[in-house]
């Protein structure tokens, strides 16, 4: 089995607030393999975007990160800002959620894509930068090529256009072009389709799939939409209150969900064929500054047992017929629920 290109070990991101420390990300372990698409699913505020920002070292003070972020075995949390900057956008690129606010309104789109190339000196010539007239031209050609690739029609004409002159879908394509410009090995996509119409969503997802296949870029897709993740990803990690509550291959998680939260999320997806009523998860996401003792999902859990509110639960491998569930990729299906570690469900008796 291949080695992961990106591995998170015990990644914890803490923000001090007036009401105490908030663990937006709590001891997250993840591995991303070359060419893999990993979905990070959860409700808003569960820390999934913070995971992405933590990977890039973009957590603003006073927030801080502990644990390890290993890129090819190199711990990014130990790197200087300068070294991190060299990786950002070049090795690991990020695609943000809201394209309109993420593109800088004051600069033409083409220039913003070109900036990625320039920052990483992707097309160095024989001459030093300020005197190299040909460089700008080479960079522009590469930008036009990327714009074409992400499906922006008439890139030459749009090179000088400003973000507000683009439609939402085109803005998102431009953002993806910024991410793709330096041919990164890892793309971090933070809800890239949330702000878009359904039809445009499908186009963007198809585009990202193509990028994954043609460039071999591994992708972490953050989304609140389990249906989208099931469609697009190879593996899924479900997050709740800063922790991963279930992780496994798509088949394992979707077809045999173990955590009551995953089960609840699945029941929230409309099914066009069956037209069964949606069953929302009651209650809302807990306050991260004031997490309940024990399982964070316990207050909303339909299978709640008194023990759930007492201890701390680890991610446990799902055991079926006395064996761990291992996907052919080697991924072990794991969940963080008391049922897996021992206590018997009432209906089991």
């Amino acid at each position: 089995m291949a080695r992961p290109i990106l591995e998170l070990r015990n990644l914890t991101t803490v923000f001090p607030t007036r009401r105490g420390e908030v663990r937006a990300v709590d001891a997250v372990n993840l591995a991303l393999y070359p060419g893999q698409i990993l979905g990070l699913v959860g409700e808003s505020g569960c820390g999934k975007s913070t995971v992405l920002l933590s990977i890039l070292g973009l957590i603003a003070r006073p927030g801080r990160i502990t644990g390890e972020v290993l890129l090819d075995g190199r711990d990014l949390t130990k790197l200087s800002n300068r070294e991190l900057r060299r990786l950002r956008g070049k090795e690991i690129a990020m695609i943000f959620q809201d394209p309109l606010s993420t593109l800088n309104p004051a600069f033409p789109v083409g220039e913003q894509i070109r900036e990625s190339l320039r920052l990483h000196n992707m097309l160095p010539g024989p001459w030093l930068w300020p005197f190299d007239a040909g460089r700008r031209q080479r960079e522009k050609e590469r930008v036009l090529q990327v714009m074409e690739e992400v499906g922006i029609p008439a890139p030459e004409a749009r090179y000088r256009a400003y973000p507000h002159q683009f439609s939402g879908g085109m803005q998102q394509r431009a953002l993806i072009a910024i991410g793709l410009a330096c041919n990164p090995r890892i793309l971090l996509a933070d809800e890239p389709t949330t702000a878009l119409d359904v039809t445009i969503q499908a186009q963007i997802i198809a585009l990202m799939k193509r990028i994954n296949q043609e460039h071999g870029a591994a992708i972490i897709l953050v989304t609140h939409d389990l249906g989208l993740a099931a469609e697009f990803c190879d593996h899924i990690a479900v997050m709740y209150a800063g922790r991963i509550v279930e992780i496994g291959s798509v088949d394992q998680v979707i077809e045999n969900p173990q955590h009551p939260y995953t089960q609840g999320l699945l029941r929230c997806i409309p099914n066009l064929k069956e037209r069964r009523p949606l069953q929302p998860i009651p209650g809302s996401v807990p306050d991260l500054a004031d997490l309940p003792l024990g399982c964070a999902f316990a207050p909303r859990c339909p299978d709640f047992q008194p023990v759930c509110a007492e201890g701390f639960f680890r991610l446990q491998p799902v055991i079926e017929n006395g064996r761990k569930k291992v996907h052919r990729s080697g991924e072990v299906h794991m969940a963080r629920c008391l049922r897996l570690t021992g206590y018997r469900m009432p209906e089991d008796d």
Binding site: L56, L58, N81, R85, R86, L87, R88, G89, K90, A93, M94, F96, D98, S101, T102, L103, N104, P105, A106, F107, P108, E115, S116, L119, H120, Y162, H164, L175, I178
Partner: protein, 336 residues
């Protein structure tokens, strides 16, 4: 295209200027106090015939609407009439004083911006730091300190006690300077007069600081708050995620957008500079337009006040036009 729009805006300024002309004309006449009475009050024995003669000379015996028409038609010909008190064309009087006022305003603006930009940016980047708090306290002081008091304070410290800078005037009395444009700093450079350059710059420092303190304070506060907003924006986050350094994220991505509201405020400060200069010119014995206008108001010198107000109004309109043009460069969403 842009040029056409600018011309259009200049044409649109004409009705504004006419409006200003009518209003200032009416207000001067509504103010109690008669110019001839004031002039004669200093003259001792005067005959009624002499008063009549003066009134007809100044056209004050004509009905109001006729006086207004004379004034407006004069303006169209570029003739602002003769000053009652100085017996000379108003245009000439203003032209003599205007360079001094503009020089002071430019100095104050330069000081204001040079102080405001670093302070505004650093305060935003290091929000709530000691630097930020001290700067903002300083800015508050700058806004609330009346210029006449600040001016006197500066004179006391830097001229009287430390003797670093001159107290009054635009240039040393013993320095000879050939006037070309009326801007002493520019004239010194044009005539290659090193001594005059140093002297005029030294004279410019304290008045500029006094007049520019409020500008610096206001611009710094606006720049800080808009920088704070821009620094938190998604596009700055994207810039960092692209691999941009801190300097590029702040100075390029955030500042470029923070400039948009800042430029508006800077444009409005031009009005503050013109209004504030009367006091500062008085404190520093600066022979500018402000003092001329104050004297003219007390003497009810109608043509001179009207002419000066027209110049002020035009400057303000022009400054805001420049701001609007700058805007189209800064904010691509806005077309003129």
């Amino acid at each position: 295209m842009r040029l056409v729009k600018i011309l259009e805006r200049l044409l649109a300024a004409i009705p504004i200027m006419i409006g200003v002309a009518v209003i200032v004309f009416l207000f001067m006449r509504l103010t109690p106090g008669d110019p001839v009475d004031i002039m004669m009050g200093q003259g001792g024995m005067v005959t009624a015939g002499e008063i009549e003669r003066l009134r007809s000379e100044f056209n004050l015996d004509k009905p109001l609407h006729e006086q207004l028409a004379l004034f407006l038609f004069g303006l169209l010909r570029g003739d602002m009439g003769n000053s009652f008190t100085k017996q000379r064309p108003v245009a000439q009087l203003i032209a003599e004083r205007l360079p001094a006022t503009i020089e002071l305003a430019l100095g104050a603006m330069l000081f204001g911006l040079l102080v405001a930009f670093p302070i505004g940016i650093i305060s935003a980047v290091r929000q709530n730091s000691l630097t930020d708090r001290l700067s903002m306290a300083g800015a508050f002081l700058g806004i609330s300190m009346p210029p006449f008091w600040l001016g006197i304070l500066l004179i006391l410290i830097f001229s009287v006690h430390l003797k670093w800078l001159p107290v009054q005037g635009r240039i040393g009395a013993d320095v000879h300077l050939t006037t070309v444009t009326g801007f002493y700093v520019l004239d010194s450079i044009l005539t290659g007069n090193r001594e005059a350059l140093i002297s005029s710059l030294r004279h410019l420092v304290l008045p500029s600081v006094t007049l520019g303190a409020a500008v610096a304070a206001i611009v710094a506060r606006v720049l800080r708050s808009s920088m704070l907003e821009c620094l938190r924006s998604d596009y700055v986050k994207l810039a960092r995620a692209k691999g941009a350094g801190e300097f590029s994220a702040v100075a390029k991505h955030a500042l470029r957008n923070a400039l948009i509201p800042t430029v508006t405020v800077v444009g409005l400060q031009v009005g503050v500079l013109l209004g504030g200069n009367m006091i500062v010119e008085a404190v520093f014995g600066w022979p500018g337009l402000g003092r001329l206008v104050v004297d003219a108001i007390f003497a009810r010198d109608f043509p001179l006040v009207q002419g000066a107000v027209m110049v002020y109004a035009f400057t303000f309109v022009a400054a805001n036009l420049i701001v609007d043009v700058l805007y189209t460069y800064l904010n691509p969403k806005i077309e003129m």
